[in-house]
């Protein structure tokens, strides 16, 4: 289930359940880095991804469920390409809208 894709032996991402269409960054990931999950095509990152944040493992169509821990955690608000950051800008809760503050860490310029 866990996949290590880094030369430094520090794993880069976690694929938490086989049915998940996102992976979670295990450390600060840089644009240009690759990761590969068995059974899926290799994915190249186009943006910086902070630890704990999610990345699309495959193409996720608008309205499709985002699946993490094997469970739906919301729906895509737009089409999401593999390697893209999956967060409040392109997905939404199926329960209660998410409240955020504008912060330099979530602003698009550093993503």
């Amino acid at each position: 289930m866990l996949f290590t894709s880094d030369d430094k032996k520090l794993r880069s991402v976690l694929h938490l359940a086989p049915e998940d269409n996102v992976v979670v960054a295990c450390r600060d990931l840089k644009p240009g880095e690759f990761f590969e999950i068995v059974g899926h095509s290799p994915v190249k990152l186009h943006q910086r991804i902070l630890i704990g944040h999610k990345v699309a493992l495959c193409t996720i169509k608008k309205s499709e469920k985002i699946v993490k821990f094997g469970m739906p955690i919301g729906s895509a608000a737009e089409d999401i390409a593999p390697g893209n950051h999956v967060h409040t800008h392109n997905m939404q809760s199926d329960y209660i809208p998410t409240h955020t503050l504008e912060s330099p860490r979530t602003g698009p310029e550093v993503l």
């Binding site: 960054a25 630890i51 944040h53 993490k68 967060h87 409040t88 209660i96 912060s103």
Partner: protein, 403 residues
């Protein structure tokens, strides 16, 4: 592991792991005097708690009754202004019945601030001298109540610290302890799974009702239990946060549903419903993490396992708080505040079960008297607000009370 330690015996048969003198103000108007009394003793296990409101409220009265007779509490000093709505007579009687030393200082009847402070400090000094300093009754982990809470969650919480606490909970329940997880508003989306874990169908239905109440409450208030920092840390929705939070409960059966101040009747895993009953009033169910911690303690928790990703630094009055840090970057930043580095799981440097064992070991060390990081740093946060609950029914505790 034999899981044995020495505790403080209480008249109700429970065992404390600390011998705290509580100084409690019964209205905000008595807060300053209470704090002035407590401050010189704050390194000697004298803790400040209180209720700010002037209007009477059954919940806050019951909270004070249970907190002042908590097994970690050895004596209580009550501070009243004199004209507030809180029933100080009922509270004092309740504490007296528990055979703890108790004194009430009414500021209006003691020549005001300076005399009340002087009298209070004298009383605390005398009571500390009288109280046993060393625990002397043999106890085991099976007698402990352990609560858990997550605060400042991020995208690592649900992967490292929360499932590690779940692992520790499974082990503690095996050893006979009572474990409590809570904040139904932060479990929205997990209701069907929790129902399936209930020891019987009626309890499962009760859990569904509590969850529906939580969802309705937060929807009316317009915000989920989700802070901007959660999003900074990579969480995108309340259900994502819920799934992560839910991992703290481990994999065992759920033995009962409690409301604040209810005591687990015997060892097992319990869900604490913290959302007020009836119409939506008094605002958010818990305005911050310490409001939840106070309720876990009111349910008898001797120790609190606090998981954090972003990095909370709080502790609590009355019961020690063990910080389990989910995020390895946060651990580096806040290492003086953190007891357990669960973020090693993120780097592949530790397995969940190892961290689970570390947590159980830390609970035992804490029960033996070793101070947690937040205790050493004198974090003694406490807060209580207005709430309203109807009593739980028999379906909530399907296992009969052990003799």
């Amino acid at each position: 592991m034999d899981g044995k330690f020495l505790g403080f015996r209480r008249s109700d048969g429970r065992v404390g792991i600390r011998n705290v003198v509580v100084v409690a103000y019964l209205v905000e108007c008595a807060h300053h005097v209470a704090r002035e009394i407590q401050l010189p003793f704050r390194e000697r296990d004298v803790h400040l708690i209180g209720f700010p409101g002037c209007y009477p409220n059954d919940y806050s009265q019951r909270m004070m009754h249970t907190l002042c007779t908590h097994p970690n509490v050895g004596a209580v000093l009550l501070l009243s202004l004199g004209c507030e709505g809180f029933n100080r007579f009922g509270l004092e009687q309740h504490i007296k019945k528990s055979e703890r030393p108790v004194e009430t200082i009414v500021i209006q009847e003691n020549e005001g601030t300076p005399q009340s402070i002087a009298k209070g400090r004298r009383w605390v000094e005398e009571v500390i001298a009288q109280m046993p300093q060393q625990p002397d009754v043999s106890a085991s982990l099976s007698q402990l109540v352990v609560g858990t809470i997550c605060g400042g969650s991020d995208g690592t919480s649900g992967i490292t610290a929360n499932p590690a606490v779940g692992n520790a909970f499974d082990k503690l329940v095996q050893l006979g302890a009572s474990c409590i997880f809570e904040e139904t508003g932060e479990l929205i989306g997990c209701e069907n799974h929790m129902q399936g874990r209930a020891v019987d169908p009626d309890l499962g239905s009760q859990i569904q009702l509590s969850m529906a109440k939580a969802a309705r409450y937060y929807k009316t208030l317009g915000y989920g239990s989700f802070a901007p920092g959660n999003a900074d840390g990579g969480l995108s929705s309340v259900e994502e946060k819920s799934l992560g939070a839910y991992a703290k409960s481990g994999h065992g059966k759920i033995h009962g549903l409690l409301k604040p101040c209810d005591q687990p009747p015997q060892g097992g895993l319990y869900l604490l419903d913290v959302v007020s009953d009836g119409e939506v009033r008094f605002g958010f169910p818990n305005i911050n993490d310490n409001a939840e911690i106070a309720e876990l303690i009111a349910c008898g928790s001797h120790v609190i396992l606090f998981t954090t990703g972003r990095g909370s630094v709080v502790g609590s009055a009355i019961s020690p708080v063990i910080k389990v840090c989910a995020n390895p970057e946060t651990f580096q930043q806040l290492r003086d505040d953190m007891d357990i580095d669960a973020g090693r799981i993120m780097y592949g440097q530790a397995e969940l079960a190892e961290i689970g064992d570390e947590i159980v070991q830390k609970v035992l060390e804490t029960a033996k008297g070793m101070h947690t990081k937040s205790e050493s740093l004198l974090h003694q946060e406490f807060i209580m607000t207005y709430k309203s609950f109807t009593p739980i029914g028999p379906a909530c505790l399907p296992i009969p009370q052990s003799p």
